[in-house]
Symmetry: C2
Subunit: 232 residues, 2 copies
Amino acid sequence: MARRRVGNTLALAVLALVAEQPRHPYEIAQVLRSRGKENSIKINYGSLYTVVRNLEKHGLITATGVDREGRRPERTTYAVTEAGDAEMREWLGELLSVRVHEFPRFEGALSLMGVLDPDQVSTLLERRVEAIDAHVARGRAELAELTGRLPRVFLVENEYELAMAEAEARWVRGLLDEIADDSLSGVAEWRHFRATGEAPAAWVDMDAADRELAPTEAAEHDQEATTDDPTG
Amino acid sequence: MARRRVGNTLALAVLALVAEQPRHPYEIAQVLRSRGKENSIKINYGSLYTVVRNLEKHGLITATGVDREGRRPERTTYAVTEAGDAEMREWLGELLSVRVHEFPRFEGALSLMGVLDPDQVSTLLERRVEAIDAHVARGRAELAELTGRLPRVFLVENEYELAMAEAEARWVRGLLDEIADDSLSGVAEWRHFRATGEAPAAWVDMDAADRELAPTEAAEHDQEATTDDPTG
DNA sequence: AGTCGTATATTCGGTGACGAGTAATCGGAA
DNA sequence: TTCCGATTACTCGTCACCGAATATACGACT
């Protein structure tokens, strides 16, 4: 949607924390950590300071003072501006209400798995589900422990992450089953191709057919975004 | 895991297509499109040419010839090298077998939703599920149509994407229900905070507690990656 | 008194991602 | 025949991201 002046998701977190009360960059990182947000928002020092500078440049936050303790480096404290507050609310609203396709690497990998052997792919995917199971088990345990000390509202991101991990594991299991019992159509051709090098008819067809149908029917309508960025 | 010399996922697709047969960059983009991969791998012209150049620089592909038709710009054709083929297999194997946390924006947004009103959040999330439902409906229809003409193996990425979208919609619905019937703990405090500005005790506790427990128990073990990149 | 480790706080250079822009050609309609 | 729009093919400048490195202070221990 609306192109953000500062597009990094970290900027949203900065706005949120600075809206709560004026803070200096390092403190922002600390609070983010102590509240466990570093699991859901990637904090990177380089990015943090760049982001803060950019937010200031665009008038979304302002420096309210520079102080120093002893001979430590100066700490510039920032507060949110009215524009920044508005931006934050609008942006957050957008992120919550519209789903954008973010091209997870796994999806890309799936689309290219044809270059490997079916059996090899099965082995790899089995490893994946095992890893996910372990991850979910650990996550659930930690979450349970946290839920004892904290209202669940403050933990929804974690519940979401786990739910999605579980969903993925379920889906991959399904795929594995379908490969195993040969109920997934095309595995035979795939195997044949890997053994002989003869390209599956489907590929040839597609490459030839090109865009006899509208090329990107779906892609036109769905929003997309790969990485944090849209500056403009 | 292993830091990739060329980290952009698009590079993997380039390797895969060029391993099939020598191609020039523009052709790569075309094939990617005609095979419908642009839904699962973000193709960007700027990135494509950079990626090809980098792959060549690192000896993963080699230019096999330059020809031109009429006075069109030259087309440099590239073929995969042995190193490139190995890299592709290993990389693809890694992407399939290990799940990395890619920090979806929605997860970040969820972790910050506290700055909005509960009712507003509900409204926004309702919009989201509706949009997802629509997306899934359209996707399922298109997929059904494609499944008629193509073996399903070639469509797994799409099935995956839809499965995940559905899972997300299910989860969000669950959350909405829990907010609505007040079975999600902390909504009361949240509401109170929004109305009065009194910070929930939980936040204060956390900010104070800082890292009396190991700060990033989980984060240490899970791999992470925000955006395409790791160059090194 | 020395020094080791950790917390504080930030800078900086390199790299790559991006998408708008360019430029040439071709096919078809007026 | 000429003009328009689509297609082919690629380039370039800008901008953001990253994380390693820097520099200082403080507390604890020897």
